[in-house]
């Protein structure tokens, strides 16, 4: 059995590898987050972290809970499917605390033309105007009431 005469150093080498392996497993267990690999090759808790972000747009359901009168005005009008926050902007803060956070007043001169300014690329069926020659410089809400824009009784003014 001359082959195994100096087998001692093999055991030492094996011991070094074993210690290294255990150290690697220990360090890895310490460094890798618990949720890593929960659903795949990523940190599972990241999903909950992303989902926990606060919202800025309250959603039309929240608006309609309080503003039923406006919803009624929109009903039957062309803007019935336009959500409140499409024009009024993000209102989650107002929805949370309606008393102290008031939405800013809107300027129809800016808002209406965003959608209704004529452009060749817009669908032909969509109502468009060249705002410069449409109303002789009058504000849109002189004639159109934004919540139901068909001309009936002379807008909001």
């Amino acid at each position: 059995m001359k082959v195994f005469q100096n087998a001692g150093h093999l055991f030492r080498l094996a011991a070094v590898f074993a210690v290294g392996g255990v150290a690697f497993i220990g360090v890895r267990a310490f460094l890798v987050p618990k949720s890593f690999g929960q659903y795949g090759h990523y940190r599972g808790n990241a999903i909950a972290e992303i989902a926990a972000r606060p919202v800025n747009f309250a959603g039309h359901q929240a608006c309609e809970d309080c503003h039923a009168d406006v919803l009624e005005k929109k009903m039957g009008g062309k803007h019935v499917h336009v959500n409140c926050e499409a024009c009024h902007g993000p209102q989650a803060k107002h929805a949370e605390d309606p008393g102290s956070v008031q939405p800013a007043k809107l300027d129809t001169a800016v808002l209406c033309v965003r959608c209704h300014e004529a452009n060749l690329a817009k669908p032909k069926t969509f109502p468009q105007v060249v705002s410069a020659d449409h109303a002789n410089g009058l504000a849109c809400d002189n004639c159109h009431q934004p919540h139901s824009p068909v001309i009936t009784d002379g807008g909001t003014k």
């Binding site: 989902a51 919202v55 993000p90 452009n119």
Partner: protein
């Protein structure tokens, strides 16, 4: 501690219960939301898009997107009658402030909103070396900012150009399909702000979602189908010239 057979028999059901909780995968912020019950996508009804830029502004307001960068943007196409292979595309400031009047008469003119396609086989998640980007169990491609190295592999891998490096954090940013909203039962900010219904959030696992009827009855395509990304943003009446 010695684990006897009796202990083992008691422990096994407890372990099974714990594992079931793990599999259910409910984000803590929304206790009624089960990831396994959803498979999110979006429908873009192109004939309804008027290029108003409401979606771009809403996205920036909802997600604190820095100026000059976009998680969603609107492109305007002009396809000349004589050169359908090379459409003229413009998107001034992502379409955020609308579009100037079109110069060219004739040909086809239309708007195309773009966003992350939330591919079921997304190239971006495949190239990430550190597991910072991934497809969630409900089919949304998400980013783990704490893991991102900013190596830009995914930015190059995305065939749709939907990712960018945030100028401050130097980590990757992209559309999350408003994951913080859809898990709370809301629709995305862009869908909320779209005045014409050109954008519609779609849950492909919900049998009552109108998307199923729409897909059956309309001419719906995805972008770059030859990339085999299995994109989940569906475009109705997509022009062949759109890249």
């Amino acid at each position: 501690m010695n684990i006897t057979r009796r202990h083992m028999l008691l422990l096994l059901p407890a372990a099974a219960l714990a594992w079931k909780h793990v599999l259910a995968g409910t984000p803590e912020a929304s206790p009624n939301y089960k990831m396994t019950e959803h498979w999110w996508g979006m429908l873009i009804d192109l004939p309804k898009c008027i290029g108003c830029g409401n979606c771009v502004r809403a996205c920036q307001a909802e997600n604190d997107v820095p100026d000059g960068y976009f998680r969603t943007w609107v492109e305007r196409y002009h396809v000349s009658d004589y050169d359908i292979e090379n459409p003229a595309v413009d998107s001034p400031d992502g379409g955020k402030e609308g579009f100037p009047p079109a110069k060219a008469e004739g040909g086809r003119n239309f708007f195309v909103p773009k966003l992350c396609n939330h591919c079921a086989d997304s190239p971006c998640t495949q190239v990430c070396p550190v597991g910072a980007t991934f497809i969630s169990p409900d089919g949304v491609v998400l980013m783990d900012k704490t893991y991102c190295l900013g190596c830009r592999y995914c930015v190059q891998a995305c065939p749709y150009g939907c990712r960018f490096i945030h100028p401050k954090t130097q980590t990757v940013e992209k559309c999350t399909l408003c994951y913080h909203r859809i898990t709370k039962g809301l629709i995305t900010a862009c869908c909320e702000a779209c005045p014409t219904g050109a954008r519609q959030l779609a849950d492909l696992k919900n049998p009552n979602d109108p998307i199923h009827e729409f897909l059956k009855t309309h001419n719906v395509q995805i972008l770059k189908p030859y990339m085999a990304t299995h994109a989940k943003v569906f475009y109705n009446s997509l022009d062949g010239a759109v890249r």
